[in-house]
């Protein structure tokens, strides 16, 4: 009601123009390239579990370069390896020991954030606190984090941890791939500390080639799979193993689809609901409204017809009644007159006989009777 047609069309034009202008270059490119190659020179780490000896030197180095709190058990205490551990607020990486059926030596595996190419944590975070940086690390911005912990729900590798004991400033914590050190041109703390070169740092592409070459050179030593090459869309941290990855605590059933692929459907449905629900609902409303109106129209029409018929009938009845009444009245008057006349006759006869002594008195009741009948008829008229 409030806006004129010209204004409305003006807005429409402006909105369409703005949308077209903002979408042109990007949309064209996206349509041309629906596959996303990942950042070209992004870095990663290759963890060769066949070389790891479970010395926990990487844990110690990580603790040091990240200024983490002192651990409960010192890093040279290897008894902690007997328990399966995961990353916590105070430890960004842990080494676990696995005894594999049919192998006499245990296998050690280092765990930390895998720095996914398409991070579930980043897809899940509703304030974009996680970002996949061009260099490779998935970095966390505590300045915007609300602490909802959806990233922890989302991460398929059970990596992010939370500072549950902080009342007002809890952060999500995880391995940073030593992004600050990389920026300075240094190696990640854990990689630098590893005495057995079980960790290799470099561009992910090179690492993949390197890993393939190793598998090709020692086919007896490795299973023919690089964990992280494609898992959940691929990860920057890659793993080589001599045994099935399922035996060393790695989830082999997570598939190759990136996390974003699982939520794409419902996300795509959102704008449809926003646009089409109002159309549908307004339609239903309009239909029910029309039905209502038609029903009420019909009702009033029926009512009107009913009233008319009723009135007609009433009128007929009334006139019939009136007729009847007037007939009755006439009859009554006639009767009264007749009676009066008869009586007068009698009187006259009596008078003639008795010489006219009581004549005047007999006239009155006859007149009164006629008056009462007239009153009744009037009342009946009014009631109708």
């Amino acid at each position: 009601m409030g806006i004129s047609r010209r204004k409305f069309l003006g807005w429409m034009g402006a909105a369409a123009g703005a949308a077209a202008a903002s979408m042109k270059p990007k949309a064209a490119a996206a349509a041309a390239a629906k596959s996303f190659p990942g950042h070209p020179d992004s870095l990663g780490v290759l963890h060769d579990t066949t070389r790891c000896i479970g010395c926990r030197k990487c844990e110690a180095a990580c603790n040091e370069v990240n200024n983490l709190p002192k651990p409960e058990a010192p890093f040279d205490d290897l008894s902690v390896l007997e328990r399966r551990r995961r990353t916590h607020a105070g430890s960004y990486t842990v080494v676990n020991k696995f005894s594999v059926p049919g192998k006499k030596d245990p296998v050690f595996v280092k765990r930390q954030c895998n720095h996914c190419l398409e991070p579930a944590c980043a897809s899940a975070c509703f304030v974009q606190a996680f970002k996949k940086s061009e260099k490779g690390p998935v970095v966390y911005n505590e300045k915007v984090c609300v602490g909802c912990r959806y990233c922890m729900v989302a991460c398929p590798f059970y990596v992010p941890a939370y500072e549950y004991d902080k009342a007002l400033t809890p952060r999500v914590t995880k391995c940073t791939m030593c992004a600050p050190r990389i920026a300075e041109g240094k190696l990640p703390g854990c990689v630098a500390a590893c005495p057995k070169e079980a960790l290799t740092f470099g561009p992910r592409k090179k690492l993949l080639e390197y890993a393939r070459a190793r598998i090709a050179k020692h086919p007896d030593r490795y299973v023919g799979h690089i964990y992280g090459e494609r898992e959940m869309g691929g990860t920057s941290w890659l793993y080589l193993s001599g045994v099935d990855f399922g035996h060393i605590g790695m989830d082999t059933g997570i598939g190759d689809l990136p996390a974003a692929a699982y939520t794409a459907g419902p996300l795509a449905a959102v704008p449809l609901v926003v646009g089409l629900w109002p159309v549908l609902l307004t339609g239903i409303w309009a239909i029910s409204k029309r039905k209502e109106k038609r029903a009420s129209d019909e009702l009033s029409a029926a009512l009107a017809a009913n009233t008319a018929a009723h009135e007609q009938k009433k009128r007929e009845e009334l006139s019939a009644l009136r007729q009847k009444l007037s007939k009755e009245k006439e009859a009554a008057v006639e009767r009264a007159v007749k009676q009066a006349l008869e009586e007068a006759e009698k009187e006259r006869e009596q008078a003639a006989a008795e010489a006219g002594k009581e004549g005047g008195r007999q006239h009155e009741p006859a007149a009164r009777q006629g008056g009462a009948e007239k009153g009744e008829a009037e009342q009946a008229d009014k009631e109708n």
Binding site: W11, M12, A30, F36, P37, K132, P258, A260, L267, V279
Partner: protein
């Protein structure tokens, strides 16, 4: 040619951002269009 987006995540962030803005437009625009569409109906019906 260099792609605009190297990651699906980056692409989605951009696309969904644009869509949220357009949704706001739709939420305002569609009811306004209905008003325009049904405006005469209501005016005629001044009992």
């Amino acid at each position: 040619m260099e792609p605009d987006f190297y990651t699906l995540q980056g692409f989605m962030t951009h696309v969904k951002g644009v869509i949220y803005v357009l949704m706001a437009g739709g939420l305002v625009g569609i009811p306004l269009f209905w008003k325009f569409l049904a405006g005469r109906d209501e005016k005629k019906r001044t009992y």
